[in-house]
């Protein structure tokens, strides 16, 4: 292995590579409940050329390569299940371009959400991107590669739908441009009217290539942003409430959540509604439209709006820090969730399952769903907090999450950023021809199987042909 280490030093320099145990310890785990696994090396490239050279080295040495953003997916996607090299992308963090009129940005593959947010605030205050409710150190490339969501997902779809172009280092070492940048200098379209090749990389969880540049759509940043919080105690009404709200076509974001603590939130389902405007009148108009849309539920006394002046600052935070607070309720600061993508009409069934699992496994629950693309679907998070110093509790959380994923699949949902166990569950149920198509794509792009092995292991399934 020494020669690999020397080769990596030759590519990225002494300070860009490590095989020291304390650093390997750190890179062997993520904040979720999965078992750690040690890599052999960690490298931190600064350029696409360095990434390419590392890929060529890994291919030559047949050593696994695990691309990593900030490692906050919680589902072990950057745990090097078969060892090898963890490719920490965070030094590739430049914002290369913002096209104000075209409303897109081009960033390097390790650029964080917080960096882009701050840059836009300072230099392009009329623009914003779809910020996820994750720590600001999480990276844009990782987020789109696992079909993440953000503050603008209700309006515009998954954050991966907002990609306008990619630069990818293929597992065979070629540097490939996807979308309009493959034809010219502009990064305005990831696919149309070309075949949309971004699908070869988005959702593949780093098993088909390494994203070194991302083009990302930006959206108008309105001067005012406000929030309302509607509550109901009848879970069966939630889908129709959401249907009425999405019919308005004027809400920035819609989150549905419930949790047993603090008592303020006990026994109710909460729908947080965000809206924006360039004038106070625009904001108030939207607020009134929202209230009127839900009037029937108020008249029947089944739902109402909370007085929330004292909660507004918390609710308007971007990203929100409530998740961190939830993680520490049982002390020990751990939390993980299963977040299947599903239909809003299934909300009541999922909500019941959360409570059932929490009781069955004796764990603390919370749930927050985010509407996607005007209500065509939603991400339903089944979240459990745990104490990192309590292996038994972590085991119960893992079992509860596994059962949650099986339930989601039974309900026709799609697991989001599934861990390797959940990927296996998914592949087992996948249409065989679809699975075969995935296998062929994987074989074509990564013939040596070096990319994030242990994830999307389609090669383990017999061909259906």
């Amino acid at each position: 292995m020494e020669h690999i280490y020397r080769s990596l030093v030759a590519i990225v320099g002494e300070r860009g590579v490590s095989n020291r145990p304390e650093e390997l310890w750190y890179y062997s785990r993520d904040p979720g409940v999965l078992e750690p696994h040690r890599p052999d090396f960690v490298v931190t490239p600064k350029t696409t050329e360095q990434v390419r050279d590392i890929v060529l080295l890994a291919r030559k040495e047949k050593i696994p390569l695990v691309p990593m953003g900030n490692g906050m997916a919680l589902t072990g996607l950057v745990i090097p299940l078969k060892g090898g090299i963890v490719l920490d992308m965070k030094r590739m963090n430049r914002i290369l371009e913002v096209n104000e009129m075209g409303r897109y940005a081009v960033v390097e593959g390790g650029t964080s959400q917080g960096m882009l947010k701050a840059y836009l605030k300072d230099h392009h205050p009329r623009l914003r991107h779809s910020l996820p409710d994750a720590p600001p150190t999480t990276t844009i490339a990782a987020n789109v590669s696992l079909h993440g969501q953000g503050r603008l997902t209700q309006q515009y779809g998954f954050n991966s739908d907002m990609v306008t172009g990619l630069e990818v280092v293929l597992p065979t070492g070629e540097v490939c441009l996807i979308g309009s940048p493959s034809l010219g200098p502009y990064w305005f379209s990831k696919g149309p009217t070309l075949p949309d090749l971004s699908g070869l990389f988005l959702g593949w969880l780093g098993t088909t290539g390494i994203i070194t540049k991302v083009g990302l759509k930006l959206y108008p940043n309105k001067k005012f942003r406000d929030v309302e919080l509607f509550v109901t105690d009848r879970v069966e009404l939630v889908p129709s409430i959401l249907y009425k709200l999405t019919h308005l076509e004027m809400l920035e974001d819609i989150n549905v959540w419930f949790q047993p603590r603090p008592l303020l939130f006990k026994d109710n389902y909460h729908i947080t509604l965000y809206f924006t405007g360039d004038t106070v009148e625009e904001v108030e108009f939207k607020r009134h439209m929202v209230w009127d849309a839900l009037q029937e539920f108020m008249e029947s006394k089944d739902g109402g709006f909370m007085a929330l002046d004292y909660l507004k600052d918390t609710l308007l935070e971007m990203p929100q820090r409530g998740v961190a607070a939830f993680a520490d309720v049982p002390r020990g600061g751990g939390f993980e969730y299963s977040g299947p993508i599903t239909l809003i009409e299934h909300y009541p069934a999922y909500a019941a399952k959360v409570v059932e699992l929490a009781h069955k496994y004796d764990v603390l629950y919370a749930s927050s769903a985010r509407l996607i693309s005007g209500g065509h679907s939603m991400m339903f998070s089944i979240s459990f907090a745990f104490n990192r110093a309590d292996p038994a509790m972590m085991g119960r959380v893992k079992a509860a999450l596994d059962e949650a994923t099986a339930f989601a699949l039974d309900m026709g949902g799609i697991p989001w950023k599934p861990n390797h166990f959940e990927q296996r569950l998914t592949l087992e149920r996948l249409n065989p021809n679809t699975r075969e198509l995935m296998r062929r794509i994987k074989m074509c792009l990564d013939p040596d199987g070096i990319m994030n092995p242990g994830n999307w292991e389609v090669n383990e399934y017999e061909t259906s042909a």
Binding site: F265, N268, R287, W291
Partner: protein, 340 residues
């Protein structure tokens, strides 16, 4: 535990001021008396569905009866709740006692912060230096009057004796109530239900006046014009309303005359938004704030922290500065600046 309500007082009332003066319901000739008769006899009537819970009828009644408590009792008897069920439930849950009150070095006197965090900061400084260490906070010491907005008098009857017992356990002889509604609860709701209060509730404005007299050499008259936002709870203790003017006089602030003050005061509107919708709430807040502006006031002075939280941003948007009455006193004592 029953409401001590003298039906004859109402059935023989020549004016029916409680309803005739209502700012939200208009009655035809003789209709108000009919409504009250129906209410007393447990019949369906407009009051049960249209009352906006502003508490003002408690003040308008000149005969010492409790029309608002009766309306709320009848509503609960008939299951006619004011607010959406989940909102009512939320208030019930969030104010439940959890056995984790914050209790200072309480002797014979306690300073009640109710269950309102904002009162903690208000109850500090020179004005409260003798009592701030004796502060108590938490649902265990919270006046449950808010549940009357939701026609849940049963919650008040269940919790108020517990709150009183919690104070008694501390061995206090006096409780200084920083929340207007706490004083209203101990001196209006408790006697209306025959609940004994075995300590002396002290209204914070009485306490402020005493302290301002003691600190009069330190007072620098503010020379500012103010409008006053009277809270709903103050309707339970109308005899204390005059203290606002006395305090403002002491600190050199001028209370501007305006349409919506004293008996005609409009509430902050937030509970009304919850139970009646945005149109009425916006109307109330719009008229109220415009009235403050027209009066020439520079400051909007609050008594209740909930009103202050609700209206502060809107007051600022109108060019007025929101401030609690206690902070205004602190400004006069040089503990706070006008910019604070």
């Amino acid at each position: 535990m029953a409401l001590q309500f003298n039906e004859n007082l109402c059935l023989t009332c020549p004016t029916v001021d409680c309803l005739e003066k209502c700012q939200y319901l208009a009655f035809g000739p003789g209709e108000a008396a009919q409504e009250m008769r129906k209410l007393i006899q447990g019949e369906d009537c407009r009051l049960l569905t249209e009352c906006r819970t502003c508490y003002a009828c408690e003040e308008y009644c000149r005969r010492g009866n409790h029309p608002f408590y009766l309306i709320s009792e009848r509503r609960e008897e008939k299951g006619i709740y004011t607010a959406p069920r989940p909102i009512t439930r939320q208030w019930y849950n969030m104010t439940a006692m959890q056995g984790k009150p914050l209790i200072g070095a309480v002797g014979e006197r306690a300073l009640s912060l109710c269950f309102i965090p904002l009162l903690g900061e208000l109850g500090r400084g020179k004005l409260f230096e003798e009592v701030e260490a004796a502060s108590v906070f938490g649902p265990e010491f919270m006046c449950p009057a808010v549940h009357s907005h939701f026609a849940k008098m049963s919650v008040i009857k269940e919790r108020l004796p517990q709150v009183i017992a919690n104070f008694v356990k501390l061995g206090v002889k006096e409780v200084i109530c920083l929340h207007d509604e706490c004083y209203g609860t101990f001196t209006s709701i408790a006697p209306a239900y025959g609940i004994e209060v075995p300590f002396t509730p002290v209204y914070y404005m009485d306490y402020l006046l005493t302290r301002l007299d003691e600190l009069k050499d330190a007072i620098r008259p503010l020379g500012i014009k103010v409008a006053y936002q009277r809270p709903c709870s103050n309707r339970l203790i109308p005899q204390k309303h005059r203290l606002v003017r006395e305090i403002l006089d002491r600190i050199g602030a001028v209370l501007m005359e305006r349409t919506y003050q004293d008996e005609q005061a409009l509430c902050c509107g937030e509970i009304i938004r919850t139970i009646a919708g945005w149109r009425l709430a916006d109307d109330i807040q719009g008229r109220n704030l415009e009235d403050m502006v027209q009066s020439g006031a520079e400051y909007c002075v609050f008594n209740c922290p909930a009103c202050q939280t609700t209206l502060s941003a809107k007051v600022r948007a109108k060019g007025l500065k929101p401030v609690h009455l206690i902070d205004l006193c602190k400004m006069a004592l040089g503990e706070k600046t006008k910019e604070d």
